[in-house]
Symmetry: C2
Subunit: 239 residues, 2 copies
DNA sequence: ACAAAAGTGTTTATTATACACCCATGT
DNA sequence: ACATGGGTGTATAATAAACACTTTTGT
């Protein structure tokens, strides 16, 4: 490795340049199958014929990386204002067969129902995959997926991000199912509910669950103001 | 923002390219003054005359970003194998006055004593600054510093990274001082020691503190094997 | 003998865990 | 009436927090 330091120069002319891309692991939670899913598209490069890829694109000149990631999400899902978090770079010199492309991995959480509403309009070649049944992806996307999945699990335990995967109104059982599925653990129903009640970050909604063949459950929504109050008190969200 | 998606193309020719740099917030802990310090160098661009900068450089063709960050650290401090963590990108189009330069922020933890040993050899224009007395830096480096400082505090609470800021052998008081300085809180001595004892991640060393005008304290070192055992048991390091 | 920091236990409050039954609804 | 999931409380264990004195060393 060279020990030379380039930034001592007073001009940028001739400096080594790269193509920067963003790749986004789009997570969705399927309540029927109780599965965590990710959205993939067919890759178009000869080198990766038949393989699936994460949603990505090359950074454009007038946007930040986060804006690029949002643009990709908007284009591929029709959704705006989705939860998006930068994860890390993948910069091995050989990771792209056609040249030096360095990618920034993001993960995103979307309400799978909202997405389904947009599919018809978008005429997509995208598909949802159960995260447990992902084969070999293009590029280093399996590695990116693994890192993002790990990050999601970590965040889910310490930040109120899970609500981004559920409909706006949900039952406590749905919330518990989500946590159990993604974290691959089981929680005691009473303790889980007590924990939520003690943190006091949910608001009760008026309606109740519809069309179920048993006692309908109460509906809740995440209450951001209550969450801020929790944080102001120096407490943390934790499951 | 354009809604076009470029990655559908089957070639990279003509794609928008950028200069990628790494910038590293180098933290050191000064035991005498009980201060968290960072290492800065004089900026050389006309636009930032007299301002100080983080340690950085432009990514070269055959290295990863992490390798670039290590190269910068090696060049500027003479140290290898220092703790280094990727934090986040800074990609606003106008952040560099001479062109589109996107930077990857890292933070690094070094043993300030080791560094001092190397200063003579290196003939550096670098200086340590108390993190509480940082003025206006070049570029968006104040923002980068703030984000990295926040990240350090967070890591210090949940990961055994603090030991990278202390000499290999340290007293429990030194460790507590470090935590109190960086986190800006105070801990009860007995509770702090009990917590460390219960986690069982330290090994006792044979020697004792030298040249102090009071009862000399026992010396300890971080024990990575014990830490791994802790993790294997499903427990976490936390202060 | 004095100064200065090292080292050490107990009590109390808080939080986490384990565990089982009755309730409301649709069929 | 029965099947299905909804909803609730208590006892115990583990962890965190608050708090003060004796010990060892150098001067």
């Amino acid at each position: 490795m060279s020990g030379k330091i380039e930034s001592s120069r007073k001009t940028l002319s001739g400096a080594y340049q790269v193509i920067l891309s963003v790749d986004c692991v789009v997570f969705g939670y399927d309540e029927n199958d109780k599965e965590l899913k990710i959205l993939l598209i067919k890759n178009e490069l000869e080198e990766f014929k038949g393989k699936w890829s994460l949603l990505g694109d090359i950074l454009q000149s007038k946007e930040t990386l986060e804006e690029a990631a949002n643009r990709v999400l908007q284009f591929r899902t029709g959704l705006e204002d989705v939860y998006l978090e930068e994860v890390q770079t993948f910069s091995k010199p050989g990771r792209h067969p056609l040249g030096r492309v360095i990618t920034l991995a993001y993960y995103s959480l979307i309400k799978i129902d909202d997405y389904e509403l947009n599919v018809a309009k978008l005429d997509l070649e995208a598909r949802w995959f159960n995260i447990k049944e992902i084969g070999e992806l293009a590029f280093d996307h399996n590695e990116i997926l693994a890192v993002c999945h790990e990050r999601l699990k970590q965040r889910l335990r310490e930040q109120p991000v899970g609500f981004s995967l559920l409909p706006r109104h949900f039952t406590l059982k749905q919330l518990q199912n989500l946590y159990e599925t993604v974290l691959e653990v089981e929680f005691d129903k009473r303790n889980f509910r007590r924990k939520l009640k003690n943190m006091d970050v949910l608001m009760e909604k008026d309606g109740i669950q519809q069309d179920v063949a048993h006692r309908p459950a109460k509906l809740y929504a995440f209450d951001y103001d209550k969450y801020e109050t929790l944080i102001r008190k120096g407490r943390h969200f934790a499951i």
